[in-house]
Symmetry: C2
Subunit: 420 residues, 2 copies
């Protein structure tokens, strides 16, 4: 009778939901999750997804690469590997990063299951509930979701057509600190940002690195699109300028193929052991099968030319989108003019709610991502992300035309309402 | 002057370590981590690792499977996929599970990057710091590491040569609850357990399920080795008997190849959405490349025969190990006689510290895993795990003989010391 009452008494089993940890409350579906099911219907022109266009990837060549790998080195390719990732691939990753000015030691690279896993591990290692993460306004929905699961508060930093605004960063740091909160890091996508498509110029990179060093804030530089500049190379990576205060994330998802799920983190040596331990706890080791396929491809195939082919393919689509935006969108709308990557960010008149507009767009057979998905704070309701990476140029023109019509109709309706 | 002092003042950047989240203190290297570097030297007979033996897997066949996949379906195999996993593979997984008596809906399956990822996600969803996880004594080192990172307290439950002891489970539940702690789940490996190699009989499965249902505790059934019974099939999975109170984890790492990193969780429907969201936050989606390779293999190749070939290969090695243990180990040592899987668990006289003995074993060119690695509480110092899965039978005999010599020498030395 003196026994302590258990929190879960004996008797019939409770629902699993009643057993969830506190953090499970922060695992909520993103706004765009249900959207993708609709957007993937064949009759819809999807300007919503960020799927790379693999039509430029020669499948006969890829099939040969994998076949030879299994025949010549199957015992290793199909076996468990090291938690940190395959040593040869880590060397090749350093060669890839050298294209953006980074000098790195393969010992400081951790191979991950896509760079999403790197975001998860970094969040796990650094974020205590309530910590602040600074991020561009707007920023990548997948990163926001992970930060949210680790109970960070994301504070967005002002951006313009050249990306992060240094004075905006100073102001954000000051304001957060005035509120007594702790800033853990700045999360930034300097090249052809997701969702805005903008490129941060070299001088701003230097200034932002200086601010972060001075303020004792480290930088998480996420760079999936850096090699996808259409007309000229992007400026050197921020990591090229600062090896101590930058955690760099890279990925083969956009330069080779996302189905491999191979990304990486390049980290200061003091972080490496924790990162490997966290990754081993999470997945034991990254896939040798994927890693060695990519390693063989990089060793034996003209991968730089392949990236150039991807750039040509995306440039034609970018042009189709910008031209049809000019033609079909209202004059009061504004949009970014990306020099690379996958995305255009459109800002409409403030009275247009892009989330509320989605059902009408779907009826007109076009899909996009409403702007609020890219903000942690509910902002962005009159903006949208349009992707040009996947559809054909003809379909892009068709989709933009349809969407322009939907927006103009909505504006006319609202204009009409105001007259009533 | 009235500004709140930031916790990280401006000035030179602090070390990254100073920014770690509280949970990072629980990310510690496992005892066996440094061991594997030594054990993998070619001159050492490693009885330490749990690497499946892929010499029975026809590499020409695997190369053809992958080549055809990329040629016929490369656009899908190399693209992003769904967060839950490929629908066709989830159907095939249900066919695989049917071999162990499980009737399941593919909708309730989540494909993971090895079943380690499932362990991580379940821990993330359920474990609040201080929660108790019940586990066999001893249990899988990788699961203990993950539970530890999520700040669970693992309480080991008594086992014997037939696995978990039902009365031991009742006693553990009573004792934990008397201490006022909350039990989140029972983690168990009923088939050819890692590290003990023992098989839980059908009647104990039923009894343990009844206890857990009555006590309101759910079961995480981890089953990588269930199809690797050498002489007869293992009893039905616990999940076959209880679909509401069991989370089931499966893997292709031991029946096909671990380099693919494809495992899965079969969960009650109420858990599915949270699990998918947690997985998307962690890795975005599992690899289509790996998933569709396995799917093609299952669809077109005699995979049941392949598993039988693996069983033949492991049975010969198991026999070699048991025979040489009889021949070379001291009569005061005891060990399990596994009917399947990869492992033998050896219990030595209590005065032998198997961790302290490792350097001497390495000098004798043999490696094993000290027993303490499989306990969360420091127990197990006079036991060891021996793996027979990977070396040839000749090397196994050589390694066991060398290790028997090291142990006998140590016992004689200690006996001698006692006489001094």
């Amino acid at each position: 009778m003196s026994e302590v009452t258990p929190r879960f008494a004996t008797g019939a089993p409770q629902n699993l939901e009643e057993r969830f940890a506190g953090r499970a409350a922060h695992m909520q579906p993103s706004e765009i999750r249900s959207l993708f099911a609709v957007a993937s219907r064949p009759e819809i022109v999807s300007l919503a997804g960020g799927m790379p266009n693999l039509s430029a990837l020669p499948m006969g060549m890829m099939a040969d690469v994998v076949q030879k790998l299994i025949l010549n080195n199957g015992q290793e390719a199909l076996q468990y590997g090291s938690g940190q990732g395959h040593p040869k691939l880590r060397e090749q990753i350093c060669e890839v990063m050298a294209l953006e000015g980074i000098r790195a030691n393969p010992d400081d690279v951790l191979v991950t299951t896509g760079s999403q896993q790197a975001l998860d591990l970094i969040s796990r290692i650094f974020i205590d509930p309530g910590d602040v993460v600074l991020a561009e306004a707007p920023s990548y929905v997948g990163a926001l979701g992970t930060f949210h699961q680790y109970e960070a508060k994301v504070v967005h930093v002002e951006t313009d057509d050249l990306g992060l605004v240094p004075d905006g960063l100073r102001a954000a740091i000051k304001s957060v600190r005035a509120s007594g909160r702790r800033i853990k890091f700045l999360y930034t996508i300097p090249n052809y940002q997701n969702p805005s498509g903008v490129l941060l110029p070299a001088d701003r990179r230097t200034e932002i690195l200086n601010i972060c060093r001075t303020e004792g804030i480290f930088v998480v530089e996420d760079n999936p699109y850096g090699l996808l500049g259409f007309d000229k190379p992007s400026p050197n990576a921020m990591r090229a300028e600062d090896s101590e205060n930058v955690i760099y994330l890279g990925s083969f998802s956009k330069t080779i193929a996302p189905g491999m799920r191979v990304g990486w983190a390049l980290v200061p040596p003091s972080l490496k052991e924790k990162l490997i331990i966290a990754s081993e706890s999470s997945i034991l080791c990254p896939s040798n099968f994927s890693q060695l396929t990519i390693s063989s491809y990089l060793a034996d195939q003209p991968w730089r030319d392949q990236i150039a082919s991807f750039c040509d393919l995306y440039k034609v689509r970018r042009d189709a989108m910008l031209e049809s935006l000019d033609e079909h969108f209202p004059v009061t709308a504004k949009w970014t003019k990306p020099g690379g990557g996958f995305y255009v960010w459109v800002t409409l008149p403030e009275e247009i709610d892009t989330k509320a507009l989605m059902p009408k767009a779907i009826v007109a057979k076009v899909a996009y991502v409403p702007g609020t998905a890219f903000y942690a704070d509910g902002f962005g309701s009159w903006s949208m992300r349009l992707s040009y990476c996947y559809p054909t140029p003809e379909r892009i023109r068709e989709g933009v035309k349809a969407l322009g019509g939907v927006i103009k109709t909505e504006m006319a309706r609202r204009g009409g309402n105001q007259l009533n």
